[in-house]
């Protein structure tokens, strides 16, 4: 009972807080940082379905993010396509690339899948640099227009923040719904026991392709929003490092959960900006955190895998279950 109440109350308070933020502060920097959190949340929602539910790893999601960003950047900047159309095309293109990529990968699992998606990521990084006509090469794309619907332009940091976060909230709600119904159960079944899933009439190959395309599409959507939110993109953003960070968020958050990865995503995205967000923090602590950011993330991940394999979600889940047993 209590956990069900918390299950609706906590997200509701979170949503209200998110939407009230523009009334509480005008700090442009804060909005920028929070926009990044929202963008990562969109990718993490897809990765939580792919990795946390269906059990498939991808080290290529930064590349899908990049495909979305370059597509939207090129279409709105160079080809003057309306923002909404460009954003949808960008997400669909990323989903399509994910779909095509997942077909030959159907036979692969575990490490092999990780290697294949890593290879894809590296190829895309080269492509982002070499396809100068579209991507602007190493210089990237500049002057990408702000999001706009007709004549209504979203060109303030708080406006962009709201756009990204409302999108993120919608995506998260849809993902949370999905895992509670037939397709979500099929994903979890696929992860749990593949033979059992097939014996239940699940077309496991088709499902794998579907969830991979869906999560690639969400990464593409986030990339498209990123391009118009920041106005400038360059190939270094869409690196393997970003892919690993995204996977780390889902691992830390815990498999089989949407809430856990959300919490982990917020924490890990904010970590590099800790100096600006926590004003009183001593200088040494800040520089330590920033210098060792990647190492801290790595060590925390190893500790989580060793001592709390359920991640954040496992820790959240543990307390009510003990209470029930008593």
């Amino acid at each position: 009972m209590r956990s069900r109440l918390a299950g609706t109350l906590v997200p509701a308070v979170g949503v209200i807080l998110v939407l009230a933020m523009p009334f509480m502060t005008t700090d442009r920097y804060l909005f920028k940082v929070l926009t990044f959190v929202g963008l990562n949340l969109i990718v993490v929602a897809g990765l939580a379905l792919l990795f946390g539910y269906a059990g498939q790893i991808s080290l290529g999601h930064a590349a899908f993010f990049g495909i979305g960003a370059y597509t939207a950047g090129y279409l709105t900047g160079e080809a003057a396509v309306p923002w909404l159309v460009a954003t949808l095309v960008a997400a669909l293109l990323a989903a399509l690339v994910g779909f095509v990529l997942s077909l030959p990968m159907l036979r692969l699992k575990g490490h092999y899948l990780a290697m294949a998606t890593l290879g894809f990521s590296e190829i895309m990084t080269v492509l982002f640099i070499e396809a100068r006509g579209i991507t602007g090469g190493n210089d990237g794309l500049r002057g990408i227009p702000y999001p706009s619907l007709g004549s209504f332009k979203i060109d303030t940091p708080s406006g962009v923040y709201l756009l990204v976060w409302i999108t993120a909230i919608v995506v998260l709600v849809l993902a949370a719904n999905l895992v509670r119904t037939r397709p979500g159960r099929a994903l979890r079944a696929l992860h749990g026991a593949e033979l059992g899933a097939q014996a239940c009439g699940i077309d496991t190959g088709r499902l794998r392709v579907q969830v991979f395309a869906l999560s690639a599409g969400l990464a593409g959507l986030a990339g498209a929003l990123y391009a118009s939110a920041v106005g400038f993109i360059s190939p270094t953003t869409f690196s393997l490092e970003f892919s690993v960070l995204l996977v780390a968020m889902v691992v830390l958050g815990g498999t089989g959960s949407v809430t856990g990865p959300v919490v982990a995503c917020v924490l890990l995205t904010l970590l590099p900006y800790v100096d600006a967000l926590v004003p009183g923090l001593p200088r040494e602590v800040v520089s330590f955190l920033q210098d060792w950011e990647a190492d801290i993330a790595g060590i925390v991940m190893i500790l989580v895998l060793l001592f709390a394999p359920g991640g954040v979600a496992g820790l959240l889940r543990r307390s009510p279950r003990v209470g029930e047993a008593e």
């Binding site: 719904n177 509670r180 119904t181 749990g192 026991a193 033979l195 059992g196 014996a199 699940i202 089989g256």
Partner: protein, 256 residues
């Protein structure tokens, strides 16, 4: 009327002939048992029938349609559902959710409808949960509905797998050693459940080592030994069959 017909099925694993030219019929509305010593090829035969393995030669007709070469999920859609000797539960899902997965082919909610979860979808879910609970009661596993699959005793897992297989509303139910891990009382309860399932119009093909159960519930028995069919007929006939007694060294059958 013949619901399932196996015709000349053979399967080799390297030098070993696991299933050797096996033919038989399963008639609609009956319970047929498939027995034989360890390693006789019973589970392999199940895999050939359900698309989890492909026969080297032979034909499988289900309701007069060939199903050899179909992938397992297509076989389920055609109306055959199975359980496994090594249970294939979804350990991180509750028992009820396990059964709900079994309804995959019956429910239609796709990615879009699932993500929106509008009132019609919720109504479908509620009905599905009610049906899952009904099936769990039918097999006697309803006490475990909210338990994670991984936390359930082995015997109960087999019962849950039966409920899960029934959830697809199959015409033919294939059970691979459902009584393994059950005590006497539970086995008696299982026999009653199987009779009820049969009475509801489901045909059953069952692999089982518990001869008491086999003799009690089956209309017909087929005996495999080293991949070959050595006998087929009513329980009464099989109990007297010299070849069967020899295959079992006499003991098990006499016990029954």
């Amino acid at each position: 009327m013949t619901l399932l017909a196996a015709r000349g099925l053979s399967k080799r694993f390297g030098g070993l002939v696991a299933v050797d030219d096996v033919s038989f019929d399963v008639y609609e509305g009956t319970i047929k048992a498939l027995i034989g010593p360890n390693g006789a090829g019973k589970s392999t035969l199940f895999n050939l029938l359900t698309g989890f393995d492909r026969p080297d030669v032979g034909e499988v007709l289900f309701a007069d349609t060939s199903i050899v070469g179909l992938q397992p999920h297509r076989v389920v859609r055609a109306g055959m559902a199975r359980t496994f000797q090594n249970t294939q539960m979804f350990g991180e899902m509750t028992v009820t959710e396990n059964v709900l997965v079994g309804m995959h082919t019956r429910l239609r909610t796709g990615f879009a409808a699932g993500a929106l979860r509008l009132p019609p979808t919720r109504a479908v879910e509620r009905d599905a949960i009610a049906r899952a609970n009904h099936l769990l009661r039918l097999v006697g596993a309803d006490a475990f509905g909210d338990a994670p699959g991984a936390d359930v005793p082995h015997g109960v897992r087999r019962l849950v797998e039966i409920a899960r297989a029934l959830a697809s509303a199959p015409k033919l139910l294939l059970l691979d050693e459902p009584a393994a891990g059950l005590n006497n009382t539970e086995t008696v309860a299982l026999a009653a459940s199987l009779r009820r399932i049969q009475a509801d119009g489901t045909t059953i093909l069952i692999v089982e080592h518990d001869m008491g159960l086999v003799m009690e519930i089956s209309d017909e028995i087929i005996v495999l030994d080293r991949g070959r069919k050595i006998a087929e007929g009513s329980p009464r006939l099989i109990q007297k069959d010299a070849a069967v007694i020899e295959a079992y060294l006499g003991e098990v059958i006499v016990d029954a």
